[in-house]
Amino acid sequence: MPLNIVVCVKQVPDSWAEKKLNPDDRTLDRASADPVLNELDEYGIEEALRLQEAHGGTVTILCMGPEKAGETIRKALSMGADQAVHVVDDALHGSDAVATSAALAAALKRVEFDLVILGSESTDARMSVVPAMLAERLSLPQMTFAKKVDADPDARTLTIHRQTDDGYDVVTSSLPAVVSVVEKINEPRYPSFKGIMAAKKKPVETLSLADLSLDPQTVGLAGAWSTVNAFEQRPPRQAGTVVTDDGDGGTKIADFLVTQKFL
């Protein structure tokens, strides 16, 4: 049996750049760094493509984000996904995780799927809650923080190794299910030239809030259930002492630790 998979992706500011907040509405200043595909989502796309290679079926990219996120969708398609759905609406600007999960869940209800796969977190907000929220909203098994994914589409079952602090849990469920994958579950492929060319012709469906029958008042900054009151830059750390090792570097650190009462 083929396995139809939806991979949720997000466009984020480059995680190797300094990020800041926008003083006007206290949302992330997305112009302050290059927008890129959330690098943890690449593991989700790769895992979906591997499952597709093993079982057949389609891989659909689902992305909520501004017009510009179209570039991120093309990147995901160039890795090998078949098609995409782009949820785009000005009213979504400033959505919190609760609203984001509501919009993604509404979009997911329009498509048939066996698995939804996400990265374990976005590198900008880093809340790591959307996969669990989707499981809650869609009433599907929460198969998150997977470092190994085994699907059996014929038996309609799924087994994952869920990463824990001291090892992993073996977790089983039926299909469909919501999966999030951790970094290093696989080695994401680079888009080939052929893949990049092909991506330009792959279908991307655009959905507005009206298409999803969502009230604009329930999403975005207007519908957020928490609000940022204020923010400030942390004062830079005071420069400390730096010495060059003359054969007594370890002793000097020990002396320092004594002055700081660590020893």
Partner: protein, 317 residues
Amino acid sequence: MSQILVLIEHANGAVKKVSLELLTLAARHGSASAVVIGPGADNAVADLTRFGAATIYVASDAALTSSVVGPKVSVLNKLLGEHSPAAVLIASTAEGKEIAGRLAVRSSSGVITDAVDIEDGLVVVQSVFGGSTIVRSAVTTGTPIITVRPNSTTPVESSGAGEVVTVSVELAANDTSAVIAEHVVEAKGGRPDLAEAATVVSGGRGVGSAEGFELVEKLADCLDAAVGASRAATDSGFYPHQYQVGQTGKTVSPQLYIALGISGAIQHRAGMQTSKTIVAVNKDAEAPIFELADFGVVGDLFNVAPQLTQEITSRKG
């Protein structure tokens, strides 16, 4: 005084330090109520009372911990409905954040993760973008659900009433759909949990190899510290991925952070720059880690670290 619910993390009743921190934080803003779920929950009562719990909700049914997250959400949601607490505090661990997220959806409440402090009026302080920006926010809808990072406050002993209330809950159909079939432990021998540890010793690219990490581990062990690694080190296969500290790994905020052979790229700084005291050893005097370090040594970590280990061991007697 309104109740503030604190979800307790424990292993067969042995309470994690972060949960005691959360009780202390809760008692500052209301009446601290502990919620202990799973086998051994009763064993936690004495410790929770000693750290100020006025009420202890105990749900010790083993079924509550044999599925992923869902049952814990049901217990908390039931308590929300019955007691209308002022807030729910949960440790900002991977699973803690998932519980918070699902509870927010189920109870139509706002959620804020990764708090480093809670101020009057339940204003939540977060340290974002790798500690470069401090944000103050508040939940405006429903019951504030807040996850708090380990090491955000010092647990204070203060005897609470410790009234035990047994809780049973009917699970929703989807609570038990992801079944935990087996728990596999593969942790490295007896070191403290990375996110909770008071001291962290991390190695980076400069450590050079998996074998080289023995030197990092030796220093960590004489300080009773957790071992961390930079992304460069985990990407090179020197150390397992789950010990990665940084933007895409764990965020730590220990009292003491020792960085060995780590240059201090933003990817790494984002995960450790709120540490109270930072010590760095690196060959390159220009490495950005020295901008953060309270004490830095420019030198070869293969000389400096063993000497430091020896000094600490001998000074401890």
